[in-house]
Amino acid sequence: MDILKTMTGFIAYLTDSNRVVEKNNFFDPHLGRICATNWHLVNQNQIVRLELWWQGSCKVRIEKTSDISEWVFYHTGCKTTGSSFTILSRTIGCVRNGTRTVYTVDENTGLLIY
């Protein structure tokens, strides 16, 4: 559980009792390049719970229900000419009965933005 003390990002719990923890800027040998996140490696059909953590605190938890057809995850980033790239926020969510609901956590403050 030590990883959770400082965890920022998504945790996807799967039907086989495994979990996938967010990684950033890692080398994906299948794509043959560095990837910003590992969300594309998560089998969405196997997700039973999706959480969004910020600096060791779980900010959002979504449990799988039969009416969820799709899961959502993304970062929102900002690049200004002449300056370095920054992450503004991270978002998880789901599509439930055709309606998309997302929850966004500010990267600097940890505040939940509805």
């Binding site: 990837c35 910003a36 996140t37 995850f73 970062h75 980033g77 690049k79 000419t81």
Partner: protein, 140 residues
């Protein structure tokens, strides 16, 4: 993400990874010498969506105007001051994801929208300045 810049006359790539945009010679009371032409491409991002461009800093040149034009393909008849560049940015120092004033661009691995930028300098604007643009987008 990274910016590729293009020659506005030929469409040839000027820079594969531009950090700053070149408007050519800038003089009071006139449009820039050349429009900046760019496309945005993913870098480490597996996907990019909902990308918007903002004028984050007009360099204090409050009476200058900053035009733009977008197209999914390169066109040659976009020159400084042309009708196509009549849409103008509004300075948004604190632009956020929800701001309505951003310019939307489609970005993919293989092809992305072109963006032309024009600077029309006010006749009373003095001194050197640095204009910056901000790109806000979702990615995984």
């Amino acid at each position: 993400m990274h910016l590729k810049t293009y020659d506005f006359a030929t469409g040839d790539v000027v820079s594969d990874r531009a950090e700053e945009l070149d408007f050519g010679a800038i003089v009071q009371g006139d449009h820039c010498q050349i429009p900046a032409v760019l496309r945005i491409y993913p870098d480490t991002e597996v996907s990019i969506s909902d990308l918007k461009v903002y004028l984050s800093n007009n360099g204090g040149w409050s009476t200058s105007e900053f035009g733009y034009y977008t197209s999914p393909s390169f066109v040659t008849n976009v020159w400084p001051g042309s009708e196509k560049l009549n849409n103008h940015f509004v300075e948004m120092r604190d632009a956020t994801q929800g701001s309505p004033n951003g310019v939307s661009l489609n970005v993919t691995d293989s092809t992305s929208d072109f963006l032309w930028l024009d600077a029309d300098i006010g006749s009373n604007q003095l001194g050197s300045t640095s204009v910056s643009y901000r790109f806000i987008f979702n990615y995984t």
